[in-house]
Symmetry: D2
Subunit: 300 residues, 4 copies
């Protein structure tokens, strides 16, 4: 029996992911707040739901990929909500980058409707989403994770299981994004130190990302930083702040300082203050350069 | 005509490097402050010099691999010094991790004796030195760099050229070590956040170092951090502080703040204060854990 | 015509403040969630209200002094709320340390009931409250501020006006508390530097607080820090974190980094992680000492 | 028997101090690297020494007030030096802000010539020096401190004794300057938070410096920060960096982190990078404002 699948949230990540589900032969009911995105998928076989609740079928599966905790809260709290429509035997797969605490709270609410909640945040930029090359982390009831496995496989290159406890995959996602932002800060400071001391940042980056740091994050992001081209954004500054804030809130709730995350938060805030809300988050390196007296900012 | 080669400083990096020169068929005069290390190399064909100056032959090449700027300054300022003994046509290849400013100053002094100075710091732990798998960065007069190329090739897997300006390779080395320490801090904070929120740090590390961060630094260091075994040290805490201090001094001299380097410096100092001078530098993650209320320290 | 006055929240600040209103001859209806505190004031002439709403009389004035934004939100959102009971011509004087944004939001809500909202946070510890020596900052509609002037005068030694814009006095309060916490951090680091270098912290403190820093904050707090006695708390660590968090949230909403506030937040979190939630907030100096290898912690 | 007094270093602090000694009736031999300053004092009764050594008389007392550790080292190491000229029974009173370690090292050297070393750094700006209103901290051999007491009394309003151990007063001075810089940072962040949230920084400053922070540092410096006039400098940015660097070096040598000092150091470096070397050190508040998106910088 084929699964009844809904997909809510067709942004630059959600749309290609839903498309990959369709391409893999799964029937998908799609919903987006602004409907044009949904229409585009119609030509590829999607059924366009008229409301979020309408994307859910009893006992089916709904994926959500929305901008933040509040958006997801509103979706789940709507009258009627897709969660109620899923009802007993349904699964909500939450792909968004949100706080673990939000997932735990929602999972509790879902249980009252007989719905399983799985947090399954993804790593990868829109290109990776299109190519079905995402890395997906999942936690939640094992039976539910088992059931959605083929669906995740249609959207990513690999799924990593993080156990039964809802919210654990969200923690992993926040750790990962924090580590990426940390790498950007480290490169920003290193490249500026190089530039101010006669070493070519591009040559430095090439050397390091071909050896010690020969991995996607350093290879891709060093190019963005050295190139100094921050628009259009692959991942917007404002989202970078959101994710580091989530890490800090999670740290705070569990009583621990994260001084490097605090530093990153301050960088993001300075970048917003300087009008770079829509720049790629690697543009925190501009702030490093400016505090070193380099007038890169003038160039854009 | 074979080169006359001297090698001064036979610590856990210098010794295997000198040995690799011998193994490649080069004659090497070796010198170490404590002579036992030198004797060991004698059986492998080295000539043991009785003084540092004695390691140098007129017009030859001398490698130095010593602990810090002061040690190198003392060597070069000795009466007589190996630099004077090298004399016109000689080359001093400085492998140590030191300040670019020290290299620039020494290069100036060397010039008075007709000696070329090349800074050629290396990336890699002792195992990599043994396996001749080091990555070597070199800057200085191009003719000199050309002449030492086969020698560097005997000690490393690849040499990266950073141009004519002495000290540039030193900058690169400081940038690299700063970036490594930054990665350790980022992992320390991320793994602690995971641990305090129910995610297994080992599983997190495995996921991230198999994907976004699939490179030597993250793969090797995450194991050390998660494993929590910091003795014996691969690279001692005190050396970590030294290197970050060099980066900060270089930044200061060129008028730029490096807030992440400042944070690292504070971590190293707290670690020294807690008695961890001889722990591996990845033990700054212990400080992260303790400030999160995790009593890992008790375990060692 | 005498004012109808209500006072909600009789904690270690609210109780003495209400008592001072009574002592000045004002009739006061008091309410506290746990009623024993209210009863104590009954003997001094207070009328004990049975609900928060019951503390308000039509067109009267209600003071609130509660623990945080959420507590105030709940009070104002109750069915029925004291705000509705105040109705047209009523004034709500909000004494709590809360976010300016909360005040702005509440003022908007109050307006629908014809109630004026004045934020009037206070500086001073419980002893100052008892002695009617508080410093009170007030902002809000000028007519309302004029009307409550004699009431504030009964509770404090001086009232500072910060204009018509609701929330401005809250900003001032957050700035002040941030500056106090900053002074504590500065003293903590300075005194530890002194101790580790042979200078007596008490003598240092005496010198500085008799000259450059001859003011209440430094004089009182240096004694607490040097004395190392952090229980019972004059102002609890958890409240320190709350206030710095409010400053940081306000900064974030207005797009600015506050790196010193970030540092303080990390100190408070480390202190909570180490089990010092109920210590006086000056105990962040213990964290300074521990990171310097001084085992002061053992003393308690 | 009147003392033979020498005074070396007639900058904007040393000159008025020497003048106060003369005004109090003490004979003073003065020396300055550039001689015009010395000549000015001649008309007030000073004997102008032709060399630093010439300022010293056997068994007499020499005050030094120079820019930094290196300058003092050079003076003391000159051939011949004023220290040798002082000889047995002489006292060197070192007024400069230098590292405690430098004082300890010099005291050791002085002992070989029978000269006592007293470190006696001062608090106060040039105006206070002119008015003989400095606060002076002294440590060193008690007999020597006793002997110089009337001389210090001629230059300051009060002398604070910090015991026998040379360098202790230097520690106190570094602690004090660090605390001042910390107060500037705290005010900078608080005033900017106020400005971005509708509170008038001048009103905020007036309120706080009339109450909680009613002391010279906050009263004087808040005016400078709010006024935004940073030239001419009362105390130059470059000197601020020097002093915080000394504190950090002293902390490092005694193995302790000072994260607030690290933050200050980064502020000073950013300020130098932005071309503010000769601004008053309170201009670090400009950097706070700029990172908050306030374009104050354009105004100067």
């Amino acid at each position: 029996m084929p699964e009844n699948i809904g997909f809510i949230g067709l942004g630059n990540m959600g749309e290609p992911m839903a498309e990959n589900l369709l391409a893999a032969g799964f029937p998908v009911r799609v919903y987006n707040r602004t409907s044009s995105k949904a229409s585009a998928l119609q030509t590829k076989g999607a059924v366009v739901a008229t409301t979020a609740a309408d994307a859910a079928m009893p006992g089916g599966i709904v994926f959500t990929m929305v901008s933040d905790d509040r958006a997801l809260d509103e979706l789940c709290g709507a009258q009627p909500s897709f969660v109620e429509c899923l009802g007993r035997g349904g699964i909500h797969v939450s792909l968004s980058t949100i706080a673990p605490a939000t997932s735990k709270r929602l999972a509790e609410q879902h249980r009252q409707h007989g719905v399983d909640y799985v947090d399954a945040p993804v790593f990868g930029r829109p290109e990776a989403a299109k190519a079905a090359r995402l890395w997906i982390c999942a936690s939640g009831p094992s039976e539910a994770r088992e059931r959605i496995r083929p669906l995740l496989a249609a959207m990513g290159q690999k799924t990593f299981d993080f156990g039964e406890e809802v919210g654990t995959a969200n923690v992993v996602k926040l750790c990962g994004n924090f580590m990426i932002a940390s790498a950007v800060e480290a490169m920003g400071e290193a490249f500026t130190l190089a530039e101010k001391n006669g070493a070519d940042p591009a040559a430095l980056a090439e050397m390091l990302t071909g050896t010690l740091f020969a991995c996607p994050i350093y290879q891709n992001y060093s190019k963005l930083i050295v190139g100094g081209k921050f628009e259009p954004a692959g991942f917007r500054m404002a989202l970078g702040l959101k994710d580091v804030d989530l890490a800090l809130q999670t740290a705070s709730a569990s009583e621990m300082p994260m001084p490097l995350a605090s530093l990153l938060r301050d960088r993001f805030l300075a970048s917003l203050a300087k009008g770079r809300k829509d720049f790629d988050w690697t543009a925190i390196s501009l702030d490093v350069a400016e505090n070193a007296g380099l007038r890169k900012a003038a160039a854009r």
